[in-house]
Amino acid sequence: MKKSSTTVQEPPGAVVHRSTPPPAWQPRTDPAPLLPDREPYRVLGTEAVADADPELLLRLYAELVRGRRFNAQATALTKQGRLAVYPSSTGQEACEVAAALVLQEQDWLFPSYRDTLAVVARGLDPVQALTLLRGDWHTGYDPREHRIAPLSTPLATQLPHAVGLAHAARLKGDDVVALALVGDGGTSEGDFHEALNFAAVWNAPVVFLVQNNGFAISVPLAKQTAAPSLAHKAVGYGMPGRLVDGNDAPAVHAVLAEAVRRARSGGGPTLIEAVTYRIEAHTNADDATRYRGDAEVEAWRAHDPVRLLEHELTERGMLDEGGIRRAAEDADAMAARLRDRMNADPELEPMDIFAHIYAEQTSQLHEQAVQLRAELDASAEPADDARGQGEAR
């Protein structure tokens, strides 16, 4: 070893090759334009903000405030036992809201379990969006009607779905873009890799947004990947990788919008890494103090997506005390409506467990349904009535 400071091999000196490799050895894509910038893209506090559409900024703000309030309300509902569990996206609202607002009506959103806010910001009834977390049926809405795939619980498995749907839409000649959301932990799954690879090879109109919130439950990003950034992974598949400040709502929106435009115009997929932070624990059932310190959380609180935008808008005279109050009141009203509606017990029909397994019920399932029906009928009879009368009948 001549040099111990580097593991990179020295290029061999000038050697005259007798032949050049056949075409398969040539690079197929110039990696340079695919590489992400070193620093996440930012709009707030930069000159780029002057180009931002004021209406969009105000819309983003209103949605951020509602989203923050929604997270608080949903978490409160877990304490009342109205929700079985809630994975809060507090701190990540900018990603959620931008993801919803960047899409046109015909586009599709592929959320993961943490993305209730994105789904609600896209216009879905919050109660329908919360069915899964409530312990009611998995998907409380018709995905085709809203162009929102079911919230995916198995990590990264929704990504190939997004690719397949975008591919199918393009084959049909439809103007549809699919936006798929995934967490930093999810990028380690095989389905993430396979989805990106298919998307690039098929040039599918799909955008992947990684919300890098620092943790996969308790595991920090450093134990998840050794890549320079998650956005860098794009280059290996032959698609652009983009880094964005995930707490800067107009920045996330701008980067997403650019990627959606590219996809729509036949330019293929993009991988976007939004750098953000999960302020709350993984879910209400998790204890975050076991794997991270308060100082880290506090540092991120200072870079809060709602405050960042609020500050910018007030500085620029687009928002005043009255505007802030109105946004808060609107969010409170939304939360109150949600609370009221969630406080009503959902009506569940036990026999429904045999519905929708197959288009037509099999005889095996029919027998089991008959059994449950009998059990339900028996338990519905008054207790003393039921006793001893079985044989009599």
Partner: protein, 343 residues
């Protein structure tokens, strides 16, 4: 090209020998011609026509957008098929070999099988998953698994397997037409089995979920499917010499299960042997034997027996004949049906 077309037209109605692989190809071709929503995708399904040539000519006829060579990734193939089905297509997915379908299991169990249920009927998954399965062709490891028990154990999937050339066509047409996901198991060793078959007037489309009595008999029922059907028919012939008149039931569909046909047969004969080449322990035979016992107890003259592959990872090809249940093993089981209360 005109000469080929002319020849085809001339022999249009004449039945001629066709292989199961050809019948399967024909089923996909006809389905694709009838319905533009039908798309075939998988590894090597395009120019090569699949490693077993089952998709032969589809890419040439329908283009690469309809018959697509995918990247080499089974979860990706099935996962993208889910998205395609969400958008109204009817993907027919080829898994190259039984043991190479395992990377796609998560998509299969978590999404393909459950999507209809999770969305309360809003998103059916009309996906056909073709899996060449089973041994007997001298394949090296990972090329001979019988994985039907895994699929059977997953609610939401149909599991079918043809044993004849006619059924290969009829069942595959039904699978592609089904609004539910169908795991379509193709017995590799029957790919080149031939039958008189008229591709111009193919057999009827077979509804999924019906077993068929392939041979009637009175003294015992052999319940079987897929690659073991030929073994059972042979055994039934051989058993005649011993005075056994065996009935042979070909299940064709493992899910849904045709209790009716099986029960009617066993009630007639009073004895049953379940025959398959997949492992016995935790295998399909246990489920089938239990169903028969529960429903035919008073009609049974002997316990329901199973003849299955051993509980071993699939052995090397030079030893596979010792693993695969053959005629002799079936006949031994039949002999054991002469049940004495104290035996």
């Amino acid at each position: 090209m005109t000469t080929v077309a002319a020849t085809a037209a001339k022999t249009a109605r004449a039945a001629k020998p066709a292989t199961m692989a050809q019948a399967l190809q024909r089923a996909m071709r006809d389905a694709m011609a009838e319905d533009p929503a039908v798309h075939v995708l998988g590894e090597d399904v395009g120019a090569l026509g699949g490693v077993f040539r089952v998709t032969d000519g589809l890419a040439a006829e329908f283009g690469e957008d309809r018959c697509t060579d995918t990247p080499l990734a089974e979860a990706g193939i099935l996962g993208t098929a889910v998205g395609m089905a969400m958008y109204g297509l009817r993907p027919v997915v080829e898994m190259q070999f039984d043991a190479f379908a395992y990377p796609a299991f998560e998509q299969l169990t978590s999404h393909v099988a459950k999507m209809r249920n999770r969305t309360r009927g809003a998103l059916p998954m009309p996906i056909t998953i073709r899996v060449p399965y089973g041994g007997g062709i001298g394949g090296v490891e990972h090329h001979s698994d019988s994985s039907e028990a895994y699929y059977m154990a997953t609610p939401g999937l149909h599991v079918v397997t043809p044993a004849t050339v006619d059924d290969a066509y009829g069942l595959l047409r039904a699978a592609i037409a089904s609004d539910d996901p169908v795991v379509f198991l193709e017995p590799k060793r029957l790919y080149w089995s031939k039958a008189q078959w008229s591709p111009e007037a193919p057999a009827t489309v077979e509804p999924i979920g019906r077993a068929v009595v392939r041979r009637t008999g009175l003294s015992a029922t052999l319940v079987t499917y897929g690659p073991s059907l030929t073994v059972c028919l042979e055994a039934a012939e051989a058993a005649r010499a011993e005075g056994w008149d065996l009935e042979v039931v070909d299940l064709r569909s493992l899910v849904p299960f045709d209790d009716e046909t099986v029960i009617a047969s066993v009630r007639r004969t009073g004895r049953a042997v379940v025959v398959h080449e997949s492992n016995g322990f935790g295998g399909p035979g246990g489920e089938i034997a239990a169903r028969i016992s529960e429903r035919c107890f008073h009609h049974l003259e002997a316990p329901v027996l199973r003849v299955a592959g051993f509980d071993i990872p699939y052995p090397p090809p030079m030893l596979e004949q010792h693993h695969l249940p053959g005629v002799d093993r079936v006949l031994d089981a039949v002999a054991r049906l002469q049940w004495e209360a104290d035996s």
